[in-house]
Amino acid sequence: MSRARALAASLPEELHLLPYVAAYEWRKATAFRAGFVLNALLRGVPRPVVMTLVYLAMFRSTGAAEIRGYTFVDLVHFLVWTAAIQKCIPDWRSLDLAEQIFDGYVTKYLVMPVSYFTLLWGRFLQFTAVQLLAAAAFWCAGALVLHSWWPQPVSAVALAQAATLLALGTGCYLLTYFILNCLAFWLDVVWSLLNMFMFVAAFMSGMLVPVALMPRAVRGVLEVTFPYWTVNAPVELLLGRLGPADFRFGLAVLATSFVALHGLAFVTWRRGLRRYAGVGT
């Protein structure tokens, strides 16, 4: 109880620090301009470009007008939205905590009068703010160049619903990466676990291929997981293929996942610190 009270008391201070942490992270992220431009702006674009050509080849091959209710244009729109959304999702390189644990650098955070979670959410804030801008720039550039081909949100409500799901979903991604990074307290290596999650999540989220094209049983499973509601579902909301009832269900799935992951992250961090030796290479 007293710990909860202490946490509540320090909250204003932590919130005050948040923008400073975000500014610090921005400086780090933009230290190498070419890398920033390539990774922030162009990241996630090559795959949709290539997949567009793959879908084109598929439609040419079958001669059909649509595949499981998707026309070629629908699939291209799906890819465009996926590319924009993917920019906002943290990847395993967004967090270098595991390396800091291995190298003993976490010590510096432990002696700071600020919770590590403030630093974590500061980084998230910076990442999301920049990536949202990058996603918006990507969408605007496409809309200017390919006006009639470029997808528009079906409605402002759908856009708001998609943004809500995306915000919660990206938080879930970050927490999952955080938990996996924390396993460095126990394991000698975690990068393979992070990659493993990335591969599996990419498939589950519909980033690689729309979930609607997958077999019905697979779809049923994916619809109760947060990757699906972070990418595929917001895209389908923007395309007008999902409605308010789906949004409410997705919101529940994501909120539950977020709370559960946050709790798990907190426990993993606390337990891990007990094992932390503070030394490394």
Binding site: G35, V54, A57, T62, L193, F199, V209
Partner: protein, 266 residues
Amino acid sequence: MSANAFVQHLRIAGQYARIGVIRKSQFRVEFWSQVVMDCCWYASHVAVFEVLYAHVDDIAGWNREQFRVLLGFLFVSDAFMMVWLGQMWRFWRDLKDGKLDSFRVRPGATLFLYGFQQFSVEGCVNMAVAMTYLAYGIGRACEHVTLGLVLVTLIAVAVSWWVRTILVTFYGLVDLWLLGSDAGQFVNEAIHAVADRPADVFGARVRTFLLYILPVGALTQVPAGMVLGRYTPLGAVVAVGWLGMLGVGMFAAWNRGFRRYESAMG
């Protein structure tokens, strides 16, 4: 490279392998997690294209059976990367941290001494999985498995490894030129996005570029094409010879690019 230098580098590779085995015998979790990680990667690729082929019979002139051969070469070349070239994933960071100093003063090819130092035993397991998938794909795609086909397959595997080395050198080169930019990671993403689909989905000019200039498509389509009889013998020899020269040129460019290495200021 003289015969003596070649043998020396083979012996060094042998020592790297020995060190890799010693290291990995100490870290069992790392061993298994990397095996599972790569299997997840294979599974996600297979799943995507099984989903796509559930709706069509043919993508850009590649049917499901032929596509498995293409994927098989992707996995085999990726496993080669895991076995020998894992250190190159960290190249951008080591470059920034000035960790190439010691390789620079050693009497050997810097790219080889640095890039091949992280031999991965688990990569060998993944190589076995990848080879099995490739053999399965070839078995399904080709009616008769002859000695000639086996020989061509072995050459094609060597080609996919060679092209992988060229591409890894290329994104190391990008990092060297855009020093500390982390740009190599993006190039890697772009390379993978292109390599795991047939280059035939692109228009003729782009396809030629991707097969023979920046040979991303050659990672899979050239070796798969050799095995599936899409090349005449002469065409295959010319393609392989060209890719060989391209690699030599890329390594030379890498050595020149090294002039930009600043180590860490000190």
